[in-house]
């Protein structure tokens, strides 16, 4: 019963909270740059406006891929929030990401193609670390099930400290923040226009935005899982603080090249993730 409620809550309120996170993100960014910034609900206004606009497409098929992107994104969230299998949720998230790339690839614009190629590069960069994170949870709880991870022992955040650091590192990529915003370039660097999303408009762009709101919530939930044994009153604020630390990183770093991104994230996955995994396996034996 609880699981169904959680699923329903994620489905209905997920995008709402995701939009709020995006709004706070924009406000914080503005304040860091000594600007006033848009209202908190601006992301929602944006999407409502997009829905009123005409949708132009390069090929009709791009809509199909975008719907599949949203379908698997929501699927990933539902598995996570119903207490299901963390690894399966991660797999669904991967499928979702690949369909976004396919949507960009389906158009024949070099800007979109470049964005899609770079997005794939980023996926290659963060995938090992995300998998290692799931593996770490398995080692501390002997299960991939989120419902069992929620009841982990209180030492979990310390046991998984290296993995947490690694996860936060690749989270920057996953949120497409600077220094890793290679595929979409949020800050108006002109060489990519808007990368991945260059050729989406109207309904389609709105769909991508809503997908990202869901994604924000899913990623926040991942951070929450690390601290879950401390109870929601402690874990949620910590998760939020860590989430918004990414905004600070975003505003204080210049963009890296893809090769540096790839190298850096694999070294982090190796240095923090694998080492942590190794010690955990040794220790919990």
């Amino acid at each position: 019963m609880n699981a169904w409620l959680a699923a329903l809550a994620f489905l209905l309120f997920g995008p709402l909270f995701g939009a709020l996170l995006a709004g706070i993100d924009r406000r914080l960014t503005a304040r860091m740059q000594a600007r006033q910034g848009p209202p908190l609900l601006q992301p929602i206004y944006d999407v409502l406006k997009l829905l009123e606009k005409d949708t132009l497409v390069v090929t009709l098929l791009q809509g199909l891929y975008l719907w599949l992107f949203l379908f698997f994104m929501i699927g990933a969230g539902l598995i996570l929030f119903t207490g299901g299998d963390l690894l399966l949720s991660l797999f669904a998230l991967t499928v979702s990401g690949i369909f976004l790339c396919l949507a960009a690839d389906a158009t024949n614009s070099p800007y979109s193609h470049l964005g899609a190629s770079r997005e794939l590069m980023l996926m290659m960069a963060y995938e090992p670390m995300l998998l290692i994170t799931a593996l770490g949870f398995y080692l501390t709880n002997h299960s991939f099930r989120v419902s069992e991870i929620l009841e982990a022992n209180a030492w979990q955040p310390f046991q998984l400290f290296g993995i947490l650091l690694g996860f936060l590192f690749v989270l920057t990529i996953k949120l497409r923040k600077s220094p890793f915003d290679l595929s979409t370039s949020h800050h108006g660097h002109q060489e990519l226009v808007k990368g991945l999303t260059t050729d989406f408009s109207g309904h389609h762009l709105a769909l991508v935005e809503v997908g990202h709101w869901y994604e924000n919530i899913i990623l926040l939930a991942w951070i929450y899982l690390f601290f879950a044994p401390w109870g929601p009153w402690l874990a949620l604020p910590i998760a939020l603080i860590l989430f918004f630390l990414e905004v600070l990183v975003d505003n204080t770093h210049a963009r890296l090249t893809w090769s540096n991104t790839l190298k850096a994230s694999w070294w982090v996955a190796l240095g923090f993730g694998t080492t942590n995994l190794f010690f955990l396996a040794w220790w919990l034996r």
């Binding site: 949708t55 132009l56 497409v57 390069v58 090929t59 009709l60 098929l61 809509g63 199909l64 719907w67 599949l68 379908f71 698997f72 699927g75 299901g84 299998d85 399966l88 797999f91 499928v95 690949i98 790339c101 396919l102 690839d105 389906a106 158009t107 024949n108 614009s109 070099p110 800007y111 979109s112 193609h113 470049l114 899609a116 190629s117 794939l120 590069m121 996926m123 290659m124 995938e127 090992p128 998998l131 290692i132 593996l135 398995y138 080692l139 002997h142 226009v193 260059t198 050729d199 109207g202 090769s259 694999w266 996955a269 190796l270 993730g273 694998t274 995994l277 190794f278 040794w282 034996r285």
Partner: protein, 643 residues
Amino acid sequence: MWSIAPLILLPFVASIAVLRAPDAHTRDRRVKGWSITLIVITLLVGIGSGLGSSEHALYALPHWLQVLLDGLFHLAGLLLAGVLLYLCRRIKGREWYIPALILVQTGILFLAETAAPPPRVEHPFAIDPFAILMALIIGVVGGLIALHAVPYMRDYHGHAPGVPDRRNGFYAMIFLFLAAMFGVVFANQLHWLFVFWEITTLCSFWLIAYPGTEEATRNAYRALGFNLIGGVAFAVALLWLTMGPGPHTWALDRLVGAGHLALLPAALIAIAGLAKSAQLPFSSWLLGAMVAPTPVSALLHSSTMVKAGVFILVKLAPVFHGTLAGLSLALIGGLTFVLTSLAAVNQRNAKPVLAYSTIANLGLIVMCAAVGTAEALWAAILLILFHALAKALLFLGVGSIEHLIGSRDIEDMEGLVYRRPELAAMFLIGIMGMFLAPFGMLLSKYTSLQAFLSMDLLPGEGALLAAILAFGSGPTLFFWSKWMGRLVAKPHRLQPITTPPPRDEQLVLGSLTALTALSCALFPLIELGFAMPYTSGLAALGLVPVQTMAIPWESVGIMTLMLGGLFALPLAFWLRPPSYLETTPYLSGANVGEDSYRGAMGSERLAVSHGYYLTGFFAERTLMRLGVLGALVLGLGMLGGSL
């Protein structure tokens, strides 16, 4: 017992029938007829034994038959050596080592048979659920490939007029190959198994050399040479089992039952398995093998040859379980998995991509087999099945695409979704089947991750192997998605629609697609019907620890839902396509035509972009050199650890 006799004999008879066909028409009809018969018989035997729940049954033969067959196999062994030596007549310079290996191998075998009386094997044949599943893969996938080969080879000779038409021999070799594979799977007598093993080497050599070009000949010799290195190791194992201090037996079940006492002969046979399944340091022969016509590649990569290698490794798993030699073997697989996945990123040609991906996935299977817990063996068995299905589909698909567009370059496949939607859809399912949820390969990877993490052998071993898997997944995802991106891209110039592939080709591709797509449904079926009975049989014999975990049904349910969405959304889209205004892509406002822009000097330029191949970032050659070196060290570690 007698149910397996037709499996070995039928393709053998088919081989002779096809070879002796008087004209092309009769031959093609015979190939079709025999393939379909083979598929049906295999299915009947498979289902029949599945219902009979024959767990690890051993079979003895009447004395006279055994003596007769013993004699026959000795003769066949000698004959084989003779044929191989005869085939070496076209070797060049550095390939002198090949006849030398043949002589060494024959000499060692002769020594093993004469110097001491070879041990008598009471049960020359064995059937277990894993062998039945392998037989199903060989018969059904192999049969489908033979069926696909008939129209394909007709086209092939149309496209390549320089290649001498030796199709009678070609189809005969394919059937002989299948017969030998059935022999490898069911033989319990190691010497007989070895003869079958060497027949597959011979067949692969002949098939790779089929185009008759200089390149094909050289690559065929490389395949022969590398597999003979494995063959020599196998022969040494037989010698050790005859004269060595360890177990004195030529029966595979006794060898496996001897556990760690049999570590050295098992390690030697494992070398033969690694060579056959193209693991580092032997992997280059499989890449060279792609010069052969596509059905040959499909056969080598999916249901035969490389699968024989991992089959024997899975069989030997209880010996390696929990040893340092086993860890070295697992690391060879892991090294191969990561390095070849990276190397595949570099490739622009479809066939090397598929070849590297095969080698990588076999590396994963080797990791699972070397670990040898019940869960890891499930993962290995499931990987073998799902890889065979998806890879056969992909190779045959590349063959059909090549005949349509005249190229194997991934970049040239741009826009296939618009040019041949049904072919593209089948091909996309094949690609997704290799690495994405909710298809079988990914579920098998899930099982192997869980298996690695839940074993308690050497400290940290599981974590190490799981991390290797995580790192290999990144590049795997990259090179497959890049290829998918090309297929779905809107083509710059819509090429005229060509004739569809022949009906038989479509039929075969369609059945393989259905089998790949059904993997969610197949998954529990295979697990309950084959993988679990196999490991519980081993557990009953005390060879592996009893398994404690099963795939939760909930996960299978979720996967099924995902699969439903994956098919329902395109269906809905097809039934009610949205009506949006189509426009040209964004080209900074400098568009001229559909997808061209006004360049410098006012000229019109086509906006073209290509995928990333990262050749400047890491190079295939360096990776492979590194891999060969690492695998040699690990191989020495494996042999050293088993002493």
